[in-house]
């Protein structure tokens, strides 16, 4: 058996030699036969004839001899492929369009699904991630009094389901640690408010680094080995322990020139001496896939970092039962299930948390413990991106459906036009399976080429999506890898399309009655037959139009959402404004010198040629929002009130008009009378029609409202300007000078109003800050416009992606429609010729074809519209400034699609009107 297979395979490469040898051998045979006849006395020519007669059909003999060697299916496949290749080359447009639309569908799907997969399924790169758990809690009411009186971290509020969060008071963390029957380790970790942005000075060079607080058994619990030195141990995380830090592998490369150089080095963290004891392994990014910390600090270093700071950490925070700030994870003991852990831990937590409630509303809204699986770490990314990704997934799924419909339609049209060819081949003896196989080979080849090109598109798509989602953020940690399963599924889908729509017409084509099909002319096909085939392709076109409308509506909604967001009146001018952050306190400046330092820095920045004015603010207007107990003197503070500490010329720099009174100026300084500027909302809410100028406001200290911090005179009323999230109502705001007492300045954002492109001034800014203090890193340099764009990044991405998808859908549907109409016109050449011969005007022919297009389009639009109305509510939460069934969007989508369809139908209609009646009739 093996000998046969080997010999057959060898034959594949020796075909020509085989043919040559065989014919030489048979020639020899014939000559010998002739020779023999001659020797028997038959004369020359007669001998040859007689020999040939005796030999029979030598060509057939050669064929039979060759057949012995051939692996039949492989040979037919090769022949089919060659033939399919030739047919495709002959119909380049057809093949190109089909392959391109399939490739786009496959590529887009693979890219989006790969992202989906890496967000939803990727495990932490640590040993045995399945035994990790994340502790969360859930409380029934979001807008309600709660035992969580103060917090640092993230809560997820939902008006319907309540609050979910992963932050706990320190005493709760200590409670969990007692349950070592359930856990082999319990560890705490969080991006503490003091460590999120650290000023790390190495060899005198200061830069900003992202920090993360970890408890002593964090690395042990995760089971991560050091890349150099050692990682943080339980003994490092206690009051009075030497100050140590662990840095990430990437950070060690960037700042130390490699992990070996980092271990053991002394550095300054916020101007305090620390020792780097070790480096985490490459690829380790902590437990939050949305973050990539540079520096890991023991929880107890918060005492060092917070000492003497106005909002610094105080050791009594460890005991505070109503301050939520510690994220907790644990590793379950072998054999302990999630449900068991939940059953063991929930009751003691409920009991403990009940003891921390002081009011009845708090008791009615107690947090309930949830033990969640932690193999994938925290679900920050999942919460942020899963909904948008589901929407995108649906959209790319529709694109693939469109592409498949197109391929199907093109194959249908082609099979129809090849009816005669197939009938001819059947009539000369080709077997039915042989022809079906031939047609199938073509469609599978088409699908395979589409799949291969799709792979390429997928690779580009993933890169492009990463860029788009990262939106220029260097610390973007979501790196999707090409997902082979997804690629397989989409490729299989395209193959299935090819087979299905290659097979259906192929089977039908081979079932044709030979005689009518052979006799068939271009116009005269039996009506019933035509109707069915055309019916299927028309259904596909209608479906494509419906799907395209759906995508156009989606794109329209997201584009209009973005437009609405961008049209939000800011109340200040975001153009030509440069922002950057500095924190002089972290570089070692102390009160009261720090205020003077900032004042001097502002003056030097104002003097840069081209800078029209410069000011500073506690936070950028859209990204930050701050509240302290502030209110009218003599009244209790109103929690709705917001404040912002700012520098001189703030309103001038931001271009916020002052409606009454004045802007802050250099005269408002430490020691001069405390002043404030309020916005219109505040004025209206607190003073109505009275003149607020000269009235007094009181600021109290956070946490201790009996302590009066400032008593301020209102010196100005400003026009409303956005403060806090773009889409929320403008709150009542009090603007106060940054240097007139509590709260004293820490980190500040400088704002420079420039002439021309703000980014041109970055070098001068860095130079001036370095001259002022080399220990002070400049961070987050950006324009005000970019600062705002960052908050609507998702909407921008969505609008861009969906517009792209919608254009793609339009093109694909347009091509489908064009193909179908062209085919119909070609098929009806004779009929149209007769109509014209009978006196139909060209315009009438155009109208006739277009009216048929319109019928298809109207059907598609009706279905699409119904689908859009039914499904748009799924994206309602991603929209802004309109309802999900925005009439303008729907109307625009309808018009666009109608226009495209008419354009796609016009070319074939025009061609139909150019039919020369004589030529058309002669074809009959």
């Amino acid at each position: 058996m093996w000998a046969r297979l080997r010999n057959k395979l060898l034959f594949l490469f020796r075909r020509e030699r085989f043919d040559r040898e065989l014919s030489e051998e048979m020639d020899f045979h014939r000559e010998m036969l002739e020779l023999e006849k001659t020797s028997q006395g038959v004369a020359g020519e007669a001998a040859a004839v007689s020999a040939r007669r005796q030999l029979g059909n030598t060509t057939l003999a050669g064929e039979h001899a060759r057949e012995v060697w051939i692996i039949a299916w492989l040979d037919t496949l090769a022949a089919d492929l060659r033939y399919a290749g030739r047919t495709m080359a002959a119909n380049k447009t057809f093949a190109g369009l089909a392959i391109l639309s399939l490739a786009l569908g496959i590529g887009a799907n693979t890219a989006i699904y790969s992202f989906m997969d890496s967000i939803l399924l990727r495990s932490l790169p640590v040993p045995d991630p399945e035994s990790l758990v994340v502790l969360n809690w859930h409380a029934p009411y979001a807008e309600h009094d709660s035992v969580m009186q103060s917090m640092s971290g993230t809560t997820y509020d939902d008006p319907r389901s309540g609050v979910t969060a992963g932050i706990f008071p320190f005493p709760a963390y200590e409670l969990f640690r007692k349950y070592d029957s359930v856990f082999s380790t319990v560890f705490a970790h969080f991006p503490g408010w003091q460590v999120r942005r650290l000023n790390v000075t190495i060899n005198g060079h200061a830069d900003i680094a992202a920090g993360w607080n970890v408890s002593g058994d964090y690395f042990g619990g995760l089971g991560v080995p050091p890349a150099a030195g050692r990682l943080i141990l339980p003994d490092d995380d206690r009051a009075g322990a030497p100050a140590v830090a662990v840095v990430s592998y990437g950070f060690s490369q960037r700042r130390f020139g490699g992990p070996a150089n980092a271990a053991g080095r002394s550095i300054l963290v916020d101007n305090l001496p620390f020792t780097v004891v070790g480096v985490t392994p490459p690829g380790f990014f902590g437990v939050d896939p949305a973050a990539a910390p540079d520096v890991y600090l023991p929880v107890h270093t918060n005492e060092l970092l917070g000492a003497g700071k106005q909002f610094g950490f105080r050791p009594e925070d460890y005991l505070a039962p109503n301050f939520y700030w510690v994220q907790v994870m644990g590793r379950l003991r072998p054999g302990v299930s999630l449900a068991h852990a939940q059953a063991v831990l929930a009751p003691p937590f409920r009991q403990w948390v009940a003891s921390t409630a002081t009011t009845d509303p708090q008791r009615a809204n107690l947090p309930e413990l949830i033990v969640k699986e932690g193999a994938g770490g925290l679900d920050t990314l999942r919460r942020r991106y899963s909904q948008p990704l589901y929407v995108l997934m649906a959209l790319v799924g529709l694109i693939l459906a469109l592409a498949c419909a197109n391929v199907a339609n093109l194959l249908l049209a082609r099979a129809a036009s090849r009816g005669r060819e197939i009938a001819l081949r059947l009539s000369v003896g080709a077997s039915r399976p042989r022809i079906v196989r031939q047609l199938l080979t073509e469609s599978v080849l088409l699908a395979s080429l589409g799949g291969a090109l799709g792979l390429l598109f997928a690779i580009w798509g993933i890169r492009f999506l990463t860029l788009l989602l990262a939106n220029g953020r260097a610390d973007f940690t979501l790196h999707a890898e090409m997902n082979c399963r997804v690629l397989g599924v989409t490729a299989a889908l395209s193959l299935l399309t090819g087979v299905l729509f290659g097979l259906a017409p192929a089977l039908r084509a081979t079932r044709v009655d030979l005689l009518p099909a052979l006799k068939e002319t271009q116009g005269g096909r039996p009506a019933r037959h035509r109707f069915r085939r055309v019916g299927l392709s028309h259904a596909l076109v209608v479906g494509q139009i419906a799907v395209s409308l759906l995508m156009l509506v989606a794109a329209g909604l997201f584009v209009r959402t973005l437009a609405n967001l961008q049209a939000i009146e800011l109340g200040f001018n975001p153009r030509d404004l440069l922002l950057f952050q500095v924190d002089a306190r972290k570089a070692g400046h102390k009160d009261p010198e720090i205020a003077a330092f900032y004042a001097a820095l502002r003056e030097r920045l104002s003097a840069i040629p081209g800078v029209r004015s410069a000011s500073l603010e506690r936070d950028s207007l859209i990204q930050g929002e701050h509240g302290l107990p502030i209110g009218l003197s003599g009244s209790p503070p109103n929690p709705a009130n917001r404040f912002l500490t700012v520098g001189p010329a703030f309103f001038t720099t931001m271009r916020i008009p002052i409606l009454a009174g004045r802007d802050f100026d250099e005269g408002d300084r430490p020691g001069s009378p405390s002043v404030a500027v309020i916005n219109e909302v505040f004025a209206k809410a607190n003073f109505g029609d009275r003149n607020p100028l000269g009235q007094h406001l009181t600021l109290r200290e956070a946490g201790d409202e009996s302590r009066l911090a400032r008593d301020m005179e209102i010196v100005g009323v400003s026009r409303n300007a956005r403060y806090g999230a773009l889409t929320r109502a403008i709150p009542p705001v009090v603007y106060i000078p940054y240097d007139q007492g509590y709260p004293r300045p820490d980190e500040m954002v400088f704002a420079l109003r420039t002439l021309g492109d703000p980014l041109r001034y970055v070098d001068s800014v860095r130079e001036i800050v370095r001259e002022a203090d080399a220990r002070l890193p400049v961070s987050e340099v950006r324009t005000q416009a970019a600062d705002i764009d960052q908050t609507i990044n998702q909407e921008i991405t969505f609008a861009e992606l969906c517009s792209g998808f919608a254009i793609l859908a339009l093109v694909i549907a347009g091509v489908g429609l064009y193909g179908t109409v062209s085919y119909n016109v070609a098929r009806r050449t004779a009929e149209i010729g007769i109509r014209m011969a009978l006196g139909a005007q060209r315009s009438r022919v155009v109208r006739m074809v277009l009216s048929e297009v319109l019928v298809l389009v109207a059907g598609g639009l009706a279905i699409g519209l119904a689908a859009a109305l039914g499904t748009s509510r799924f994206v309602a939460s991603l929209l802004y400034g309109m309802t999900a069934n925005d009439p303008l969007t729907l109307a625009l989508a309808l018009m666009t699609l109608l226009g495209t369809a008419l354009a796609a139908g016009y070319a074939p209609a025009r061609k139909a009107s150019r039919i020369d009646p004589m030529t058309a009739l002669r074809q009959e």
Binding site: A3, Q54, G56, A61, G62, R66, V68
Partner: protein
């Protein structure tokens, strides 16, 4: 369109191959010589044309039962000379035995009537 002068198509399948193998046990031979030998030995009952001889030879080659090499014919012409292989001899023994059984069976049926 088969060669009607040949009886090979009326032989049991595989018989021609068996006869070729048997012929080659006499020594290497080219296709024409094989055909001539079969005709001569069978007193012209079996006339083997190209259309059955060469496919049969290819089947034998494919199974490695014979080997072919280009050599010189008796008349100093370039010819393809076939030679039986040990595997071919084994095959011949099997075939011959099988053929004996079948012809025996056929004879028995014919005599029984």
């Amino acid at each position: 369109m088969r060669n009607r002068t040949s009886l090979s198509s009326e032989l049991l399948p595989g018989t021609l191959e068996m006869l070729i193998l048997k012929t080659l046990t006499r020594g290497p031979a080219h296709g024409y010589a094989i055909a001539r030998h079969l005709e001569r030995v069978s007193s012209n009952v079996l006339r083997v044309g190209e259309s059955s001889l060469y496919p049969a030879l290819q089947r034998l080659l494919l199974n490695d039962w014979v080997q072919a090499a280009w050599g010189e014919s008796e008349l100093k012409r370039r010819a393809r000379i076939y030679r039986i292989t040990p595997a071919g001899r084994k095959r011949l023994a099997q075939e011959a035995e099988g053929f004996d059984r079948i012809t025996g069976a056929i004879a028995a049926i014919l005599e029984a009537i």
